[in-house]
């Protein structure tokens, strides 16, 4: 018996990995090592992978996550142009690592056995760690990389321990056989619970759920803004896709063991993330904590995974969250480049003084808060709360409601600061170089998409599984 390679999964990932290699080689041998020299092949590879993905069965569950991973990476690649002035940032290696991580994300989402999942998880993790510490000679960056690295390898080791126990219980690591093996295990339920919880740990770590969140504020604060954007969206998308597939395909019979754990983790995650964000006075720090809180919202519908809504709700929430978050991070990257700081005081009045960057930020903030006029944020909040209510987890729904309110407090603070009257001399933007314009256009496109989705939420809700 052999396990054939599923090319609908492996195809796009192969293209992305090939693109990564081309980007690296072009950078190594092209005489003038410019940002575009490696960025262009990376873009082409991502678009081609998207085409390959569309040739497959569109509308399936892994398809949605793969599409989000590809689109998110493409956005990051385009917006990363804003870093082209940094001599400490090697473009070839940057694009290579970014695309490798994206390939890892694609494979994680499509994995149908835990061996592939574990290896793909590493293909996502190791390049991400290297990306965090990539800016050469930067102490903060390397320290962030060290934090991220150690937390990551410890959680990997814990996950592998769980995997080995699952193997011992079921005799196989294939999802379908695991499902049968766990349906009527020879071992006590407690043993299954230990195995399942330990296995889920690594994915919860990538998702940034409490108590695996401790690395996030330091890491996001220490790395380049767009890398933080990548970690908070693409990496989370891949982890969420893999987690939901694992729970729904391989572990539904161990439902009793993971459901309360997932519920508690989701509730605590969103609460701690929100409360932490209340005290931040830097926009990046605020988004870092808020991304922890959002991970809680992404995770919460998993308690209702038996229903179809429990599976689709996180995808729809993720799509809205990823778009808004990327817009916010990219706009902040531009702000950081032009003004040298992302402190909240620096942003005061930006919606008036620099509307092309300020208003997308306002939109992103409103979407993340789920506050009209960014209807898409509100709708997706409702979408994730509904399956939780329907599956009789009213306590969790109440916690979610409270957290929507908590979230309003700091997102609206950001919005109010942005819309305030700028104090001092109005900031005059110098005529920005082309690279910044490219990044700005990405931000505006993303903001436009948010507006369109707000006017017509069905566009998102009906086109995702």
């Amino acid at each position: 018996m052999t396990i054939p390679i599923d090319w609908t999964v492996a195809g796009p990932a192969t293209i992305v990995l090939a693109g990564a290699l081309v980007a690296l080689l072009v950078d190594a041998f092209y005489p003038r090592r410019t940002w575009l020299g490696s960025g262009l092949p990376a873009t082409v590879a991502l678009v081609a992978a998207g085409g390959e993905l569309l040739r497959g069965d569109a509308g399936t569950y892994p398809f949605a996550f793969s599409a989000i991973v590809l689109a998110g990476t493409l956005f990051v690649v385009v917006a990363s142009n804003v870093m082209n002035f940094e001599n400490a940032m090697p473009p070839g290696e940057y694009h290579f690592l970014l695309l490798s991580a994206a390939a890892g994300g694609l494979l994680m989402v499509g994995a149908r056995d835990i061996v592939t999942l574990v290896v793909a998880l590493e293909l996502l993790s190791l390049p991400s760690i290297a990306l965090v510490g990539l800016r050469q000679g930067d102490r903060v960056a390397i320290r962030s990389a060290w934090t991220f690295f150690l937390a990551s390898v410890v959680s990997t080791a814990i996950t592998l321990m769980g995997v080995s126990l699952l193997y011992g219980i079921a005799g196989s690591l294939d999802y379908a056989k695991l499902r049968d093996g766990l349906a009527d295990p020879r071992v006590p339920d407690g043993v299954v619970a230990v195995a399942v919880v330990l296995t889920v740990v690594g994915l919860l770590f990538k998702l940034g759920a409490v108590p695996f969140h401790v690395w996030i504020p330091d890491t996001y604060g220490g790395t380049s803004v767009m890398v933080a954007g990548f970690l908070s969206t693409v990496s989370k998308a891949a982890a969420l896709g893999a987690l939901l597939t694992l729970l729904s395909v391989a572990l539904p019979s161990a439902h009793d063991a993971w459901q309360p754990v997932v519920g508690i983790v989701a509730a605590v995650t969103m609460t701690i993330g929100n409360v932490g964000a209340l005290r931040q006075d830097d926009a990046i720090g605020l988004l870092a904590w808020s991304s922890i809180a959002q991970a809680g919202f992404l995770l919460a519908p998993a308690v209702a995974i038996g229903t179809s809504e429990g599976l689709t709700a996180p995808v729809q929430y993720l799509a809205g969250y990823a778009l808004a978050n990327l817009v916010a991070f990219a706009a902040l990257a531009v702000v950081l480049r032009l003004r040298g700081s992302t402190g909240l005081e620096e942003l005061r009045g930006m919606a008036r003084s620099d509307p092309w960057m300020g208003i997308p930020l306002v939109l992103a903030g409103l979407t993340l808060a789920g506050f009209p006029p960014a209807v898409i944020g509100l709708v997706t909040k409702y979408v994730v709360i509904r399956p939780v209510v329907d599956s009789d987890h009213v306590w969790l729904a109440v916690v979610m409601g409270v957290n929507v309110m908590l979230g309003l407090a700091y997102y609206l603070r950001l919005v109010v600061i942005l819309c305030d009257r700028p104090d001092g001399d109005p900031y005059v933007s110098p005529s920005p170089p082309v690279s910044v314009r490219i990044a700005k256009s990405a931000v505006l496109l993303g903001a436009g998409a948010l507006v369109v989705l707000s006017a017509w939420p069905d566009l998102l809700l009906t086109h995702l599984p």
Binding site: I3, I5, E93, V119, A120, A130, A145, I169
Partner: protein, 165 residues
């Protein structure tokens, strides 16, 4: 008790003991060397469970390269100032967590797999593993090559600080 069991128990005691020494020793290089003993003993355990190929890989990769790399790193990062203690103030809570983890896992193992026996079939020849690796597990194997390449490039670019750019 058969000879295999006896040898396994001896190896297990050696592995656990040297692991403990490795994690508590005050001398950094001693720690690395104790780890070699642990890894070698674990390789011996693999052989006793008839997983010969894995045992060889363990010896080659770990003892042959990883530990050498670690010792190099220890030498390179040797600090001029005398370090006060080789363990941090965190050690009591760390010890508590380690004991909880070991006992918890041990209890899980006992609860789940008590009274089972490993038959002595030969399972781990190079041929059969190679067969499995290149027919059933090609995809993860290929992904692994990507992981190694990415880690390599990452390691290079991170360690190449303040050079030509």
């Amino acid at each position: 008790m058969s000879l295999t069991e006896l040898v396994f128990l001896v190896l297990a005691v050696v592995a656990a003991g040297s692991a403990l020494l490795s994690m508590t020793s005050g001398q950094l290089v001693h720690s690395a060397l104790w780890l070699v003993v642990t890894l070698g003993a674990v390789a011996g355990c693999f052989v006793l469970m008839t997983a010969e190929f894995v045992a060889w890989v363990q010896v080659l990769v770990y003892v042959g390269s990883v530990v050498v790399l670690v010792i190099f790193a220890l030498m390179l990062t040797r600090q001029t100032s005398a370090t006060t203690a080789e363990v941090t103030g965190n050690r009591w809570i760390a010890a508590a967590l380690g004991v909880v983890a070991a006992i918890g896992l041990g209890a899980t193992m006992v609860a789940g797999f008590r009274g089972e026996d490993i038959e002595g079939r030969r399972i781990g020849t190079a041929g059969s593993i190679g067969q499995a690796l290149f027919t059933d597990w090609v995809l993860p194997f290929e992904i692994l090559s990507g992981v190694l390449l990415a880690a390599l490039i990452g390691a290079i670019v991170i360690s190449r600080s303040g050079s030509d750019r």
